[in-house]
Symmetry: C2
Subunit: 556 residues, 2 copies
């Protein structure tokens, strides 16, 4: 195996292809592996009760001694969120920009593992060397500060990974994407480009973040009461603009929501956000100021039921409640799947008498990802020999490959891969190689991977039709029923209103057991499956539902 | 009560306000009630296992002898879908246009109740008279043929209900919205306008359906293999345009999916759709023609797992499978909540080698609802004294009321109501009156209303953390454990991998029961709640999950 792969660069995506989130890619050369990002994914609607999904890192564990470090493009959850779980298994150094590491640090602290981990801050423009690789961090622009692309020098050529990016000529922090550097790399020779595909369906350019700030200031000018703005806590430039609009109108600023409080503190400590101390107030003190002198910046822009804005809307927040005249701005757009939650939240806020502004009405949010024209610029600057679209559903990857073809690239040099599929590169060639183990590990509470497909299938089934437990005690010696059958249901029908149905069901079970006992069927397994079959048929007939039936036989 | 409400027109929305779907509004005057529409709603994400929701018609049942008929604005499910359930309780005549009744008829046939029902076809422009009311059907335009507004003459004045509508100056069937009639009504005197609010957030005009046809023909011109188009079966004009594009390129047409087959048959029988007999082919025969001579029109544009397009994509369709070169057009936009399903479906189609065109890429769908400028036109033509926005979430109703204010209406004359809230009108006045019973009745399988909040709460809980059943047999006389405790779980953890946890849990239960028995606690209720408490605490500690715990004590 080691001989077979010698002198080849192997690009091994362990997540992030054909899916949104869980971004992690290993780059292997002989005896070394470096890993780009280590993100989590949020569960989809079928993953009942699951909190998070992290990548399956079996491949890294099987090659543990090779792994030299994690190199982070930016500090979003889908790029750093799995680190606390993964570093427990492979404790190697982590490299990233200042803010990115600030966010990782706070995450590791929460998991009580910071002291065991090695975090190495890299200045943008600098290079990290391992035996086989040189990794250069290049400034880009995204919806979080300190986003980078990585230029990875391998023995066979340079790989450029854009990370998540967009091109903003007028960023809030003045730190413009380093297009010169990409141009220079393109002038030399780039073996492989891996580029963000999230917004490839959108024509044109992404609007500058600065425009949102101007719109916010305009909206603030009409506000007569409090302004409550919900946004992503990690979008520090957005938060800065909300702060700026607030200060411009003499409003004090309060932060609400755990991640908003946490990230704003980190951002201010590290110098990424500016808010004069005397302009920052606690949520406890908001009532001490006239309502037109207060801005509250909060979490919950996705309608998450436990986040601050939902708690405020549904009157479950201890310190903030909606007053007539409040102006709510939802400075975010819905992540697919959250549309209904957000819609309900907006309705509730309206009903409580607030005015609500959201992206359907005014431009109060802009994406962090490059649209088609920006992608074309990046491709044209970098002029790679090979191209592999990353970060996106399969259709985004497909579209991105078509965009590259439109720019004149040979389709043979474009590789739309799936997670787990390996791309093997030499100085002059690229080809798909055998797949490696990959997938998602579901986190539910403290359990890592103990919820699998069987549990999920049961949870889905339970959610649709509920469960009937049938309990009976049987005397082993005389082979007669001592007690029961009793039937208890959850999630099936409301017991009080369906006593007749349950009585009839009990009779069905009784007849079935008697039949078994009479014909001397003595193995519980057969009796149980007979109960399941008869009772299942009876219930389906009566209700057209198929609850889980759980027969329990107690023998004495 | 009867005296109190005398000589007043009472508008009683029993559904459709502050929600999408379940449209039904009663209009009452003294001893008569007429009902506009009788729709269903689809369950939201929290309604686990529920198939449909129909309106609670307690108010109509309590005033059964007054109800004179149902008057239907058009044939969409959210306007006619509850009829089979409601007519079983109140069998009064149903009035509607030709196509609308054609769809109702097929629905009643499925429920085996057609022969007991009275369906009265009304020609557009005609009037139906009851003792107290005259109901005129006025042609509008919507995403289904034969959509109408209703002008209801009451003893106190005219009420105009727009139904769902948009303004299309170039409709496919040539039947233009009767703006003259609305203008004339406005010239006389309209007491109350009730108007569709669905698209009030969108500026400008809705594009004409005809544009979609032109785009489809353009797209068809590039197709080298089969074309498979998914759309809403009831959008007959859209289907007609897909047929037209197909015939233009010499393609035969096949229909796939139950509702597509059903509705296209009805539409052709009633003369609403034209397709020469020799151009219609069965899905069984598609392989007999060259692939560039076949179009398949199918259901499943919302990614519904059981609809034809999903079955085709996931290789579960008996007769159609995706071939390389197939062009799929999803001629619909996602209904909120379906985004993820559709996205997965598109990915799957791409993966199978098809080309997929959807609304994010090309204009292949247009809404059936009026945007802001169209709404302004309707308000301006009708010039009502009072206005009540209908059909929409609360924020849509709110926005629509602001639009009316912008047009110069006095905010005192605008009524944003909730479902169940009554508006009482006389010739010169309008005011909110006491609420009536309203709500949703959930249909799950054959059960109508037997799934309530407790069952739903349990289903949700089950779906998140699963269930643990604890069974123990106790000897009543000696007060000792005879058998158990046994623990069986579903949806909690995968049993085989968590034997230790379950053994430990069993021990916790045993200790708890022994404690109870020793201290002579003899009521099962207390013992059960002690088990729940101790075991719940133990499991939360170990897993951070809170499964439903179901203790069962069998006594002998």
């Amino acid at each position: 195996m080691a001989v077979k792969n010698k002198n080849k660069v192997r690009v091994i995506p362990l997540g992030g292809l054909g899916e949104i989130g869980k971004n992690i890619t290993a780059i292997e050369y002989d005896d070394e592996i470096i890993v780009i990002d280590c993100g989590l994914a949020f569960p989809d609607a079928e993953m009942y009760g699951v909190d998070l999904v992290i990548p399956d890192i079996t491949y890294l564990l099987n090659n543990k001694e090779k792994v030299k470090g994690f190199f982070l493009t930016h500090g979003h959850e889908d790029h750093i969120g799995a680190l606390p779980y993964v570093l427990k298994e492979i404790n190697v150094p982590v490299y990233g920009a200042r803010l990115t590491l600030g966010l990782v640090k706070s995450k590791l602290e929460e998991h009580n593992m910071l002291s065991n981990c090695t975090l190495n801050e890299v200045k943008l423009g600098e290079e990290v060397k391992t035996e086989r690789f040189k990794v250069e961090f290049i400034r880009t622009c995204h919806s979080i500060s300190d986003a980078c692309a990585l230029a990875i020098r391998t023995p066979e050529g340079v790989i450029v990974h854009t990370g998540d990016f967009k091109i903003d000529y007028t960023p809030i922090d003045g730190k413009v994407i380093n297009l010169q550097r990409f141009a220079k790399l393109g002038n030399q020779r780039v073996l492989l480009l891996m580029a963000d595909s999230t917004n490839v369906e959108r024509p044109g350019y992404t609007v500058s973040e600065r425009v949102i700030g101007e719109n916010l200031t305009k909206i603030f000018s009409h506000a007569k009461g409090r302004v409550i703005v919900a946004s992503f806590a990690s979008n520090i430039n957005r938060i800065q603009q909300i702060i700026n609009s607030s200060l411009f109108y003499g409003r004090k600023v309060a932060f609400s929501g755990r991640s908003m409080e946490k990230i704003s503190t980190i951002a201010m400590e590290l110098g990424y956000m500016e808010l004069p101390k005397d302009q920052l107030i606690s949520v406890d003190d908001i009532d001490k100021y006239p309502s037109d002198k207060v801005t509250i910046i909060t979490t919950g822009s996705q309608g998450e039921p436990m986040a601050a804005l939902s708690r405020i809307a549904y009157s479950n927040h201890k310190k903030i409640s909606i007053a007539k005249g409040d102006l709510i701005i939802i400075s975010a757009s819905p992540i697919p799947g959250n549309e209904k939650l957000i819609s309900k939240l907006i309705d509730e806020l309206f009903k409580k008498g607030a005015e609500v502004i959201y992206n359907a009405l005014e431009e109060v949010h802009v994406s962090g990802h490059a649209c088609q024209e920006e992608l074309k610029l990046m491709h044209t600057l970098i002029k790679p020999k090979f191209f592999m679209p990353v970060h996106g559903e399969y259709r985004h990857l497909r579209r991105h490959s078509l965009l590259a073809e439109d720019l004149g690239m040979d389709s043979k040099n474009i590789f739309v891969l799936e997670t787990g599929q390996v791309l093997e590169l030499t100085r002059n060639s690229a080809k798909k190689a055998a797949k490696v183990t990959c997938g998602g590990v579901m986190i539910d509470g403290l359990g890592i991977g103990d919820v699998g497909n069987i549990v999920l299938r049961d949870r889905k089934h339970l959610s649709q039709d509920g469960i009937l437990t049938v309990v009976v005690t049987i005397d082993k010696a005389s082979f007669t029923i001592l007690s029961g059958p009793d039937i208890i249901t959850r999630g099936f029908v409301y017991m009080k209103e369906s006593g007749d149905l349950i009585s009839a069901a009990r009779e069905v079970v009784k007849v079935e057991i008697d039949k078994c006992l009479e014909s001397k069927v003595k193995d519980w397994f057969t009796i149980k499956s007979n109960i399941r079959y008869s009772l299942g048929g009876f219930l389906y007939n009566k209700t057209r539902r198929r609850p889980i039936i759980l027969p329990v036989i107690m023998e004495i």
